[in-house]
């Protein structure tokens, strides 16, 4: 186990290195740059822009800049935002809560709803409910999230006036109820796709369990349907779900990005877009690294958890 972990860790570090280098190269080699936003300011001159660029070290070769950045990253210094003048970790941290709140709520909705639909579909396989949910899941996976968000805004904010069209809370209010009313639409929109994914996987997973011997044995022993359902089926079908949850981690950033844009949610997705717009490379790189790490950690955790829970799998 320890050897396996070490080798996985080593591989992950190499991966991070590749990811960071590609990301850095793409960002720094591209035309434009963090100073172009000042080009239209009255009194700004090329001379001044060049001077600032040299002060910021932007005129050095890309490889030098990269290793400078990397050597700081290794000792825990993620750099300083060009835009804020604050440390990248601080900038990311200050947007973390909004994203976690949104993603957390969406995950709770999708896991509970998705699992229930999945289990029920599997137990009533081939029935009308199963079939409807299959079609629903496929359609849900086909709707562009942002468009679904727009339509939701059109109906619930503009026409019915029930829910606010954007933001996380009303300035000066900020009560729990206020947060919830702002949260409902983006969280539901975001959960839609995940409900579809979870219900499909849960259905397959449950089907696999239902067909296994121990469930038949349990039923044969005379255990009631409900007890079999909760003790044996649900528990065992959740094991593969942990893997899925691990693999879903990277979606935290990617999925939030578009939803946060549509609902002007002050989270990391918006931060990424804003930072990209201002060519705030340190923050963009920080988010890229953070999400790449999430992916790797997610994969690793999923593998380990499954190994711990399921005695049939051994990690060598």
């Amino acid at each position: 186990m320890a050897r396996y972990l070490l080798s996985r860790l080593g591989q992950s570090l190499i991966l991070l290195f590749i990811v960071s280098f590609i990301g850095f190269a793409v960002l720094t080699l591209a035309p434009g740059g963090p100073l172009s936003q000042f080009a239209l300011s009255p009194g700004m001159t090329q001379e001044q822009i060049d001077k600032i660029a040299s002060q910021m070290g932007l005129d050095r070769p890309v490889v030098v800049q990269y290793f400078d950045w990397l050597s700081h990253l290794v000792i825990g210094d993620w750099g300083t935002s060009y835009r804020d003048g604050q440390s990248v970790l601080h900038v990311i941290g200050s947007h973390l809560f909004a994203t976690l709140l949104l993603m957390g709520t969406a995950t709770v909705i999708s896991v509970t709803l998705g699992s229930s639909i999945g289990i029920y579909s599997a137990l009533r396989r081939g029935g009308a409910f199963d079939y409807t949910m299959t079609v629903f899941a496929m359609v849900a996976l086909s709707i562009p999230t942002f468009w679904f968000g727009l339509i939701a805004i059109y109906i619930f904010s503009l026409n019915l006036g029930w829910l606010p069209a954007g933001n996380m809370y009303t300035v000066g209010d900020g009560s729990v109820l206020d947060y919830i009313s702002h949260l409902i639409m983006p969280a539901t929109v975001l959960a839609l796709v995940d409900v579809a994914i979870w219900s499909r996987y849960m259905r397959t997973s449950t089907l696999n369990v239902v067909n296994q011997d121990f469930v038949r044995t349990a039923k044969a022993k005379g255990l009631t349907g409900r007890r079999v359902l909760f003790k044996h089926i649900v528990g065992n079908s959740l094991v593969p779900m942990i893997t899925l949850a691990g693999l879903q981690l990277p979606m935290v950033l990617g999925g939030a990005l578009v939803t946060e844009t549509v609902f002007t949610w002050p989270g990391m997705g918006r931060l990424f877009l804003d930072s990209l717009g201002y060519s705030d490379y340190p923050v963009v790189m920080g988010l890229l690294m953070a999400s790449a790490m999430l992916v790797l950690v997610g994969n690793l955790l999923a593998d380990i958890t499954v190994a711990l829970i399921d005695p049939r799998i051994r990690l060598d």
């Binding site: 172009s36 001159t45 090329q46 001379e47 001044q48 002060q55 900038v91 947007h95 996380m168 002007t264």
Partner: protein
């Protein structure tokens, strides 16, 4: 619930109308703007006001590179020495009086300056404000280790000498009339926070700014808002608000919706989109006004391109722009058509320039006459040069992209093919713009520093990076007459004489057409009718220039 809300809004509206009268009077008499604390004891600062911007202020050190929206915060937290009122007249803030040739603050040759400061001003942390802070701020702008926003003007200042706590002097290496305007946008920072700091780019000002302004920085919720509280010891009349919240709403529709619903009290930068003007004007309990800005929209031509060497071509292109339709239909009539770069509110505006007309026939005739022959592909050619070029602007600026496509269609009618090649802002305004790598652009420019008419950076032939210069003459425009006028104007301190110089220059540029002027921007501002104080000021980049005067009733 809803009825109650409406009723109270109605009451407020009536009260507010009375208050508006008072605010209007303030606008008429510049004397009333930015009054000294001595004039009136500070009324109790009460209430909260939410001012919304569609971009997020993030750079809190005002001497570092920043964008327009950051100044929205600076006016609340920091002070300048003096500033422009809406009429383009200076009024003192930290200065006891604005230095002029008349009061002896500036010597007749414009070289020796004496600046007197107010007494008894303190920084937000209680430290007294002195002339050392001013000297430090001015010198910081040219400090080689400091990431300074600009050095134009400052680098001409020599021997900055502290005479006393409230007086300092300096000499200019050459007479430079725009210097006062540059000082009017120079926020003074506290010297003491730089004491013992190794990296001047990384002081506490970046995160928790300390100024002398009407509001103290309280906290910032990144990506969302900044909270400021009243500075009880402010040295001028005001502030009249206990709490000022600068809210960041990245989407203009959401911002407008929140303004409508009352979550936002004053709608700031990027404002109400023109398509909402009619609706906004009918809103209960809101004041909505269209205000001109100093930014003018134009199609800039890269004058080094062979297509644009002939004046006839440039004039034909100008004739083929249906300005009226663009302004009336696409921009809902909000902006004002213009023939020049100078805002119409300016003292230096030349109102005698020839008026544009949209005339396809005339444009075609002009090109025929000049020998540009229509090819079989519908594009005109002369001496191997085809009237084919690209047009670029910021991708994602919808109104501008619409205008672009419309112009594309009318240009095709005169045998000109214009392709659209837009870029994200970081690419568009990088080398592509600065080094004149474009064919043509649609750009909104503010070429002025405050109310000063000098535009050497933009139109002097030596200021083009593409031609080896270092300024912002990205159109690569070269005209010896313009160079001569700009030089004369920058060394002249008599407004009447300068007016003649700059009016002549506008006529020359209108004749040359290095850019095809479209309109002077106007924006739709709005605030709740129980708010008084917000006043359009074409000489400042952002609304909060007089936030010290804002009140709620």
């Amino acid at each position: 619930m809803t009825d109650e809300k409406k009723n109270s809004a109605h009451l407020n509206r009536r009260q507010a109308l009375m208050m508006m009268g008072a605010a209007g009077a303030a606008l008429m008499t510049p004397m009333a703007i930015g009054r000294d604390k001595a004039f009136a004891a500070n009324a109790d600062a009460t209430g909260q006001l939410v001012l919304a911007f569609s971009q997020e202020p993030t750079v809190f050190n005002p001497l570092m590179p920043h964008i327009e929206v950051d100044e929205g915060l600076y006016y609340a937290v920091y002070d300048t020495l003096f500033d422009f009122d809406p009429d383009g007249e200076f009024f003192p803030i930290l200065a006891a009086e604005v230095p002029t040739v008349a009061n002896g603050g500036i010597s007749a040759d414009g070289l020796n300056w004496t600046l007197k400061l107010k007494e008894g001003v303190t920084w937000h942390d209680g430290t007294p404000f002195t002339s050392e802070d001013v000297k430090f701020s001015l010198e910081l702008t040219v400090d080689p280790d400091f990431r300074s926003f600009r050095s134009t003007g400052y680098k001409l200042m020599q021997d900055i000498t502290v005479v006393s706590d409230t007086e300092l002097t300096w000499t200019m290496s050459e007479p430079f009339a725009p210097m006062a305007a540059i000082l009017a946008s120079t926020y003074i920072v506290p010297k003491h926070v730089f004491d013992g700091v190794e990296d001047k780019n990384a002081t506490i000002l970046n995160t928790a700014p300390i100024g002398t302004g009407p509001f103290k920085f309280k906290n910032r919720m990144a990506g969302d808002h900044i909270e400021l509280e009243a500075n009880a010891d402010y040295h001028m009349d005001g502030p009249f608000l206990k709490t000022l919240i600068i809210k960041y709403v990245p989407d203009l529709n959401v911002m407008y919706t929140q303004f409508k619903s009352g979550d936002i009290d004053v709608i700031g930068l990027q404002y109400i989109t023109p398509d909402h003007l009619a609706e906004a004007e009918g809103l209960e309990g809101k004041e909505v006004t269209v205000a001109g800005t100093a930014t003018f929209e134009s199609i800039g031509l890269n004058m080094t391109r062979p297509q644009f060497q002939e004046k006839a071509v440039r004039q034909a292109l100008y004739l083929a722009i249906d300005k009226t339709s663009i302004i009336d239909a696409l921009y809902y009539g909000v902006p004002t058509p213009t023939e020049t770069y100078m805002p119409q509110q300016s003292y230096y505006y030349n109102d005698d320039l020839p008026t544009h007309e949209f005339n396809i026939e005339k444009a075609n005739a002009l090109l025929d006459e000049a020998g540009w022959e229509m090819g079989s592909d519908g594009i005109r050619t002369k001496d191997g040069v085809r009237l084919y070029f690209s047009n670029s602007t910021t991708a994602g600026n919808h109104l501008r992209e619409q205008a672009q496509q419309f112009i594309q269609q009318t240009f095709a009618m005169i045998g000109v093919e214009m392709t659209i090649k837009n870029f994200p802002p970081a690419v568009m305004w990088g080398d592509y713009w600065m080094n004149s790598e474009f064919d043509t652009v649609v750009v909104g420019l503010n070429t002025l520093a405050g109310a000063d008419p000098d535009t050497s950076d933009y139109f002097m032939s030596t200021m083009s990076p593409a031609l080896g210069g270092s300024g912002q003459n990205t159109f690569a425009y070269q005209n010896p007459k313009v160079d001569e006028l700009l030089t004369a104007g920058a060394q002249n301190f008599v407004p009447e004489e300068r007016k003649a110089i700059y009016e002549e220059m506008q006529a020359v540029i209108r004749e040359d057409l290095p850019f095809l002027p479209m309109f002077q921007y106007a924006v739709v501002k709005g605030w709740k009718d129980d708010v008084t104080g917000p006043t359009p000021n074409v000489n400042n980049r952002i609304d909060s220039w007089n936030v010290r005067d804002w009140k709620r009733t």
